[in-house]
């Protein structure tokens, strides 16, 4: 029994959590007693004896679970354990519940965990729509309603959309660039294990006195600084999700820059790799801002600092500047990896090289640069210095240009191709183009200050954000999951169920979110549990479509679970794609490649006679050394 506690794992993790939690609790109690303060402070923003253990206990769990073992041995000068790869790869399902350094295992861990939170968040959306089906309050009271939409948004953003892309890229990206793993496998594992902690803190806030955080996912001060204890759970959850995100982004950057297979220069990288390179650049520079903003709120709450209290010399609007300096780039963090997925899917299923590959890559970089200069378009009515509005409007509208380049280039890719629509992945990719165009159009309208003054903080915003985040990001996530499902599981999914899921999702998305534009422009504010009678019929319709949208996701869940277990075996390359991950078995061997492949051409050379993207192990002899490839515009 004692030996079980010495091995890294769940038992030692639980022990670490209890000890570290007790340490945090004891520290607060002791320090307060010494200072002559009342030992327990239970004003709603206080509770230091809960807030501090919320920081220490997860760290204790991570330490006990084994996330720091290797580094700690170095740090304290203990003899290091020679790497025997015992923590690498999965032989049974149990290995997915361990500290594992294999990027493929981590990828699956990410995807399954994030989809768990997708369904929890989705359930909250169903409750929200049930409440909004009729005017008046029927199911939940106004406070609970505020908690529900806040938690819904936070789960979907911080523990679904952002990390699920990290999960897909974790699995696919090293294979795509011909690398045996990520650059820092242990850091990769640590990144993953911080994620469930964030999710548990968000959901766990429902147990806090005063209920879950209810100041919206934006958590504007001073509403958030004066909110009940649940808000501190949000402040801390964001730290774990953010740290996870930053560490993963660093890992991707180093992996992409240093671990590409020989011959893969920047202009031979698949666009998914370009997309994750751009995303990671955003994450490493922007995410510290939300971490900072939430720490400042936490300090205002727990230590009585006055960052955002005007009475104490603080500045209320500055919270929004810091927050949106992250959270606007964040919408591209939630979109660029999806752009990469769509490029892979469309090129493969249209059997065509990507139209204007270089411009596609440069458009990603253009979005990265521009996205740092548009944050204040969320604040046109916020009372900030008014001169900033017009410059921010211009940059905001200009960001439509690189985005438009991507849309038109995907369409151009279809021309003179051989378009196959049997795959659900391709259906989602094509539907994404339509839905995202609508979301882009409403985005341009919102970027215009006079229109924004009218529709800001109305259901128009709710419609826009869901068109770009559900019709945009989530459609690309589904496209990616279906596309790489055979690679990840070694099984094929059921295309018939895939189609049911697709049509249910498409009609559900449009039926739910299109009418929201109308009620918003007509005068319905967002974030309200109750609304005027005149919007009753539209809201009932929206709710009906929302339930259909929810039901369609159950078809997806069933399809994934059953196909993973019983689906027909997948070949290595069922879609006849060119990129490297498809040239190995499904699922790939533990260390990906017996011999690192040699890259000799562009990634999408469909229809080019004799063109190769990569030469795999054992086939080098018969392929002559190729001429430099010509990709991009001709």
């Amino acid at each position: 029994m004692a030996a079980a506690f010495k091995q890294p794992g769940w038992l030692r993790g639980a022990l670490g959590m209890v000890l570290a939690g007790a340490f945090g609790f004891g520290l607060v109690v002791a320090l307060r007693a010494i200072s002559g303060l009342p030992v327990f402070q239970t004003e709603q923003t206080g509770y230091p004896h809960i807030v501090v253990p919320l920081i220490t206990a997860p760290l204790g769990f991570l330490a006990g679970f084994g996330c720091f073992d290797y580094w700690l041995r170095w740090a304290v000068g203990a003899p290091t354990v020679p790497e025997d790869h015992s923590q690498h790869g999965a032989k049974s399902w149990k290995d997915y519940f361990r500290f594992n350094t294999d990027h493929k295992v981590i990828g699956i861990q990410y995807i399954v965990t994030t989809f768990f939170f997708f369904f929890v968040g989705g359930l909250m959306a169903m409750l929200i729509r049930a409440e909004l089906a009729q005017p008046g309050t029927q199911i939940v009271d106004a406070s609970t309603y505020n908690s529900l939409f806040s938690t819904h948004a936070v789960l979907m953003i911080f523990v679904f959309v952002i990390p699920v892309f990290a999960g897909i890229a974790n699995y696919v990206l090293p294979l795509m660039i011909g690398a045996p793993d990520m650059a820092f496998p242990r850091l990769n594992a640590l990144s993953f294990w911080m994620l469930p902690i964030a999710g548990i803190l968000f959901v766990g806030s429902f147990l806090a006195p005063g209920g879950a955080f209810d100041a919206g996912w934006t958590g504007y001060a001073p509403l958030s600084t004066g909110a009940p204890l649940g808000q501190s759970f949000f402040n801390l959850g964001v730290q774990f999700a953010g740290a996870s995100s930053i560490a993963t982004a660093l890992n991707f950057l180093v992996t992409i820059i240093t671990m590409r297979a020989p011959g893969m220069n920047f202009w031979r990288m698949p666009l998914l790799v370009w997309a994750n390179l751009s995303t990671s650049l955003l994450v490493v520079a922007a995410t510290p801002f939300i971490a900072g903003a939430q720490f400042m709120v936490l300090l205002d709450r727990a230590l009585g600092t006055q960052f955002f209290q005007f009475a104490g010399g603080g500045d209320v609007v500055s919270y929004q500047h810091i927050f949106w300096f992250y959270s606007h780039p964040a919408v591209y963090i939630m979109m660029l990896p999806g752009f990469g997925i769509i490029s892979e899917v469309i090129s493969t299923h249209a059997r065509k090289p990507i139209f204007g590959y270089r411009l596609m890559a440069l458009a990603l970089i253009g979005i990265v640069v521009l996205s740092y200069s548009v944050w204040a378009h969320h604040m046109f009515v916020a009372g900030m210095f008014s001169w900033l509005r017009v410059p921010m409007m211009i940059t905001t509208l200009l960001i439509a240009v690189p985005t438009g380049i991507k849309i038109f280039s995907w369409l151009g890719t279809l021309y003179f191709g051989k378009i196959h629509t049997y795959s659900t992945a391709m259906l989602f990719a094509l539907a994404f183009i339509v839905t995202f165009t609508i979301g882009g159009i409403s985005g341009v309208m919102l970027g215009m200050v006079p229109i924004d003054i009218h529709v800001s903080d109305t259901y128009f915003i709710v419609a826009h954000i869901h068109f770009v985040l559900f019709g945009g990001s989530v459609f690309t996530i589904f496209a990616g999951i279906y596309h790489w499902f055979p690679k990840m599981t070694g099984r094929m999914y059921d295309e018939k169920l895939g189609r049911v899921h697709f049509w249910g999702t498409l009609l559900g998305t449009w039926g739910t979110f299109i009418p929201m534009h109308w009620v918003g422009m007509d005068g319905m504010p967002r974030r309200v549990a109750d609304y005027a009678e005149q919007f009753g019929n539209w809201n009932l319709l929206i709710s009906v479509f929302a339930f259909m949208l929810g039901a369609a996701q159950l078809v997806f869940l069933y399809n994934m679970i059953v196909s993973w277990r019983y689906g027909p075996r997948a070949e290595g390359n069922p879609w006849r794609a060119k990129t490297i991950e498809w040239q190995v078995s499904s699922p790939p061997p533990v260390f990906n490649f017996d011999e690192i492949p040699r890259v000799v051409g562009g990634p999408y050379e469909f229809g080019v006679p004799g063109a190769r993207h990569a030469i795999m192990a054992g086939e080098g002899a018969e392929v002559p050394e190729p001429k430099p490839s010509v990709v991009g515009s001709t």
Binding site: A142, Y220, F408, G417, H454, D457, G523, R526, R576, S633
Partner: protein
């Protein structure tokens, strides 16, 4: 490559589809009733955007569905498409044309913004006080006359609302006026409105401010100037001292409009 496509027909369908979508979309008054001088300007900008957006949407639809109709693989066809890697002219076109469209949109928006915020001579100054979950208003004359939960303004005279939040951020929105502005603790924010339609409207809080957010409303009455003067004269209460204090201590943001040389 482009020569092999029926470009003229595709463009014709795009234009026809644009016209059809715009014709339907422009029939509907999306933003509801117009109640201020700013409303027709903002709605006109929206209409222009609807036509431009219809064109973009129609273009994408025509491009997508033509490709799906023309280039769909026959069952069993395992061959690849043509190895076309791009077309510099097309790529330049779909970079430059959207740039021109959005810059036009930005310029037009800027003009509308300047128009609707143009200060007029002799405006009426009304203090707006917001707190969880109620609105109240201060009028010049007799010290500051105070009205709780009911806002009256005269017809066709520019009103400068000076807003003061007492606790958290609230936001002032009368949909018929198309004007919205956050009330922020510690600063005075300003909204400029010239109501030009008589009637009773609703003031809606649009910034999440707590559990009572959905019910934080006030009645708005736009009436002819004589009735308005009478109504103000009939107000018995004065603005309470704590609220007056926020008027004095709140910092004014942007006291000078940008056009007048301030920044």
């Amino acid at each position: 490559m482009i020569g092999r496509l029926p470009i003229a027909k595709m463009l014709a369908v795009t234009v026809a589809l644009t016209a059809a979508i715009s014709a339907v979309m422009l029939q509907i008054h999306w933003d509801g009733q117009q109640g201020s001088t700013a409303a027709p300007k903002i709605d006109h900008l929206l209409d222009v955007m609807i036509v431009l957006s219809s064109f973009v949407f129609a273009l994408v639809m025509v491009m997508l569905f033509y490709a799906l109709w023309k280039f769909k693989a026959k069952p069993g066809d395992e061959s690849d498409g043509e190895p076309i890697h791009g077309n510099t002219r097309l790529e330049v076109a779909w970079t430059l044309i959207p740039t021109i469209i959005v810059l036009f949109g930005a310029g037009y928006s800027w003009k509308v913004l300047d128009d609707i915020e143009e200060p007029a001579a002799n405006p009426l100054k009304v203090q707006v006080f917001s707190q969880q979950y109620a609105w109240s208003f201060g009028y010049p004359g007799k010290g500051e006359a105070w009205s709780q939960g009911e806002l009256h303004v005269p017809l066709n005279r520019q009103v400068h609302f000076k807003m003061h939040a007492q606790d958290v951020i609230h936001s002032f929105w009368v949909p018929e006026w198309r004007i919205k502005k956050d009330n922020v603790p510690g600063i005075t924010t300003t909204a400029i409105v010239t109501p030009d339609r008589l009637g009773t409207y609703q003031l809606i809080c649009t910034e999440l401010c707590g559990f009572g957010h959905a019910t934080m409303r006030a009645k708005v009455v736009v009436e002819p100037a004589p009735q308005f003067r009478e109504w103000v004269a009939g107000l018995r209460e004065r603005v309470p001292a704590p609220l007056m204090e926020s008027v004095i201590q709140d910092t004014e943001v942007n006291p000078i409009p940008v056009g007048a040389g301030g920044a």
